[in-house]
Each structure stands twice: as structure tokens, then as C-alpha cells.
């Protein structure tokens, strides 16, 4: 049933004013798109590795660790590098001695524990996606334990510390990336 004189309403509607948004809206949209882009890039970096590539990297790290241990246990200690690496070459942002590892690990371990809780809450499909990265983190942790054992035996050897620092750096990055992916959609109890 058509209203009486509906054309009057239609004519007035045609003349309704057009409003313009404030100029800052586009800037906010652009910023949000930038932030979303960065997140996607970080995520796609990890996913750009195939399972095979990740498995190869993990195997190489494990072999390196086994080799180091074998050389140490057969009495050769850390090969060559101790003489060439000085303490000043170590990254001051990371633990510089075995004593500092404990405090550093205290912070990172809490982060890692939260990450593992998030992973436990993830749906199976999501959990499968991050499994390669999780395997890599496990491998790095194993290597790290081996290096700490080596330092226990040898004292603060700069070459060993440099290797440990490099492992800590990779571990910290990996935990950060995994946290972004796993904890974003999870509400911990």
C-alpha cells in the first residue's frame, strides 16, 4: 500500500544533505592496514618454509650439537674459535656469562610457558600449522641445554658464549613469533 503523496517524501529524500567524514579517518585506516600488513609478513615468513626445509634446518642444528659434544667429550674442547672470539664481540643485549643465563632464562622461560599454554588451547588445525616452528623451538632448546652443559664444564668460554647467544637470539625470536601466532586468538583460563 503506497503512502499518500509519497513523491513528496521521495523529493525531500533526494535533497537530503551529504556529509563528509573527518580528514583523520583515512590516516587511521592506513595505520591499521600497515599494522595488519606487518603481522601478516611476520606470519608468512615462518610459513614460507616448507616442512622439509624446517626439518633440514633442525637436523643440521642437531648434527652440529652432536658434533660439538663429541669433540668436547673426545678431549678436543671447543674447536679453534676460542682464540679468535673476544668477549667484546659478544652481544651486550644477551647474557654474557653463564651466571647471567639464569636471570635471562627466568624471563624467557615465563614467556615460553605462556606460549605452551596457548598452544595447548589451539584448535587442532591451528596447532598443526605451527608444529614445524614448535619443533624448531624444541631443537633449539635441546642445543641450548647442550651448550650450557659445555659451559658448566669449560667455564665462560667466549666462543661457546657466542654460540649460546646466537641460540638464545633465535630462541627469543621464535618464541616471540609463535606467541603472536598462537596466543592472538586464545583466551587463557
Amino acid at each position: 500500500m503506497e503512502d499518500k503523496n509519497h513523491s513528496t517524501l521521495r523529493d525531500a529524500i533526494q535533497k537530503l544533505p551529504v556529509h563528509s567524514p573527518a580528514p583523520g579517518v583515512w590516516d587511521r585506516i592506513s595505520e591499521e592496514l600497515d599494522a595488519a600488513g606487518k603481522k601478516t609478513t611476520a606470519r608468512s615468513f615462518l610459513y614460507s618454509f616448507s616442512r622439509l626445509q624446517l626439518a633440514a634446518v633442525i637436523s643440521a642444528l642437531l648434527l652440529l650439537s652432536a658434533g660439538l659434544l663429541w669433540r668436547y667429550q673426545s678431549g678436543q674442547g671447543i674447536p679453534e674459535q676460542p682464540a679468535t672470539i673476544q668477549e667484546k664481540e659478544l652481544d651486550p643485549a644477551l647474557p654474557l656469562s653463564k651466571a647471567e643465563i639464569t636471570e635471562y632464562d627466568h624471563q624467557l622461560a615465563a614467556q615460553e610457558e605462556m606460549l605452551r599454554k596457548c598452544i595447548d588451547q589451539l584448535p587442532e588445525a591451528e596447532s598443526e600449522k605451527i608444529q614445524p616452528s614448535k619443533n624448531m623451538l624444541d631443537a633449539i632448546n635441546q642445543l641450548r641445554d647442550n651448550m650450557i652443559r659445555l659451559l658448566d664444564e669449560q667455564g665462560d668460554n667466549p666462543a661457546a658464549m657466542k654460540r649460546l647467544q646466537s641460540l638464545e637470539k633465535k630462541r627469543r625470536e621464535l618464541i616471540g613469533q609463535l606467541q603472536k601466532e598462537a596466543c592472538e586468538s586464545v583466551v587463557l583460563p
Binding site: E2, T8, L9, A12, I13, A22, V25, W26, E32, L33
Partner: protein, 181 residues
Amino acid sequence: MNREGYRISETEQQLVTGCRAGNRLAQKALYDRYKDAMYTLCYRITSDADLAHDVLQEAFIGVFKGIDGFRQASTLGAWIKTIVVRTAYRRIKKETDYVALEDITHAETPDWGSEIDAGYLEQAIQELPPGYRSVFVLIEVEGYSHKEVADMMGISVGTSKSQLFYAKKQLQKKLKALGVR
């Protein structure tokens, strides 16, 4: 219409392609093309300038993130408008009360007289309760059907019709109070 759906202009096709590639200039151009129409719609539905800005922002983020899903089943403007309406409606949903459907079949039909001032009409629309306002804006101003509004808002066609009827009744009262008619 082509096999995929609506044919869009070459310029819009280029903008869509650019937006799909994440090109910021193309995104800005698309935003500039539709910002006024979409903001006006946001403002009419929400009746709050700050909220309308938030809705516009959220809706365009949704447009850029979801542009891969634009399959030309409608025009580009209509597709964007649907996202804007859904976003706006989600934001006002909490404060929207729908009156129970009453038998309006035999109700008196509204009479709009010979002239309505557009400025006063705008003011009267803004003063409507959210449920009336959104249905009136979508059907009378934006040209959606009751079925489309019902689908978008998750209400029945009957509720949409009753909302529109009561919206018009209130509008007429308000316009009379403003001394327009």
C-alpha cells in the same frame, strides 16, 4: 551483467585490482570515491558523528581485507554499502529495540502532503529510535527491499514492515512538531 555478475567500470576494476595487490594509492582512491556516501549512511544509521567515524573506519578495513571476496555479484558500491550497513548495524544493535509486530494492514496510510524541507527531514530522521531509523534509512533512503533489510539485520520481513510503518508515523509527528507540515 556479464557471466560473473555486474560489469564495473574500467576505473573501478583497476582500483579493485590495485586494492587486491595491497596498493595504498588504490585503497586511498577507492576510499575517496565512496567516503562521503558511506559516511552519510553511517551517520544516518548511527545518528552519532563519532560512532559514524568509527564505523566508517572499521567498514573500510573490512572492505580492503575482504576485497578478494568481491565477485561482482553486485556493483562495487553496493558491495561496500552492504559491509558498511552490517558494520553500522552491529554497533547499534545493542540499543535497538524492535516493537512487536502488530496488525498494520488496516492502519491509516501516511500522507506526506505537498512539501517537506530536507533539512528538517534529516533532523527528524536523526531523532527516531535506532530500530525505526535504520529500517527507514535503508528502505526509503537507500532503496533496499524489506527482504534485503530483514536478511541484513536478522529480523523478519514483517518486523521490517512494522518498523517502517512506525518510523513514518513518528516522522510525521516530528515534522508537524517542527512546523514543517
